[in-house]
């Protein structure tokens, strides 16, 4: 059963990802990205990391998608078609990416992974204890650093987005 769910989710993700990078309408490609992100949350549910799936749904599908949709609506006319690269460029890039996929897959399949059979469920409490532990393998320092980073990003985003309207070009040109 889970096997078929995985195949359906994987197929949907690949199709949506291709549509997301190939669609000529901005808003549609954002919505296709939303499908890909929800599919990734589905994979987290399948491998039994419920907390990560919840994070994926709230931060990515809830936060980042809304932010990107806002920026699309603020800077674009919805009807406007996007410019695309020249056909020959797209073809060459697609061939290069196909070669890359083939190389990756060959290397992955030639390596012998030592898979450990398990069906343990990770609780949120374990993740929280690990994040806040001082012991070896604890993640307290990166946790603190990332809180400072988020604060700095918040201040920086406000300062940059406030900005000045239209700097006069005559005085400040270099």
């Amino acid at each position: 059963m889970e096997r078929y769910i995985f195949y359906i989710v994987a197929l949907g993700m690949i199709v949506s990802a291709i549509a997301s990078v190939a669609s000529r309408k901005m808003l549609r490609s954002v919505i296709y990205l939303l499908f890909v992100l929800s599919g990734i949350a589905g994979i987290f549910f399948l491998v039994d990391y419920n907390f990560l799936a919840a994070i994926q749904l709230t931060v990515y599908a809830g936060g980042i998608i809304v932010l990107v949709i806002f920026s699309v609506l603020l800077v674009h006319h919805i009807e406007m078609k996007l410019e695309v690269a020249k056909f020959i460029n797209r073809l060459l890039t697609a061939i290069a990416c196909l070669i890359g996929i083939i190389i990756f897959v060959t290397i992955i399949y030639s390596y012998d992974f030592k898979v450990a059979e398990n069906s343990t469920t990770t609780t949120t409490a374990e993740i929280g204890m690990g994040l806040l532990s001082y012991e070896t393998g604890g993640f307290i320092l990166p946790f603190e650093v990332i809180s400072v980073l988020l604060l700095a990003v918040m201040v920086g985003a406000i300062v940059i987005a406030k900005g000045k309207m239209l700097i006069p070009k005559s005085d400040e040109s270099i």
Binding site: S29, I64, V68, S71, E83, I101, I108, I127, G163
Partner: protein, 105 residues
Amino acid sequence: MIEGISIYEILTLTSILFFIGIYGFITRKNLISILISVELILNASVVNFVVINKYLYPDILQGVFVSIFIIAIAAAETALAVSIIINLYRQISSVEVKDIEIMKY
């Protein structure tokens, strides 16, 4: 781990997603589309961390922590990128890559 699915199939899926992201990153001419492609690449790497943790080392949680940090940094990066794009659009009324010549504040 997923019943009946080996690690190879999931790694194949994430490789395909990663290269779709790279394709979009190279061929798109618009800042927001490039941002979307970067999100695809980051997500593929997050799934790799989680799956390798689950299949190979189920008794420790390092991959989960690293993927939480990747998600947080990706959110921060998107917020900054969106603010830069909006500011740029106010100044030059365009978000096409070819129009952007100055990034001087």
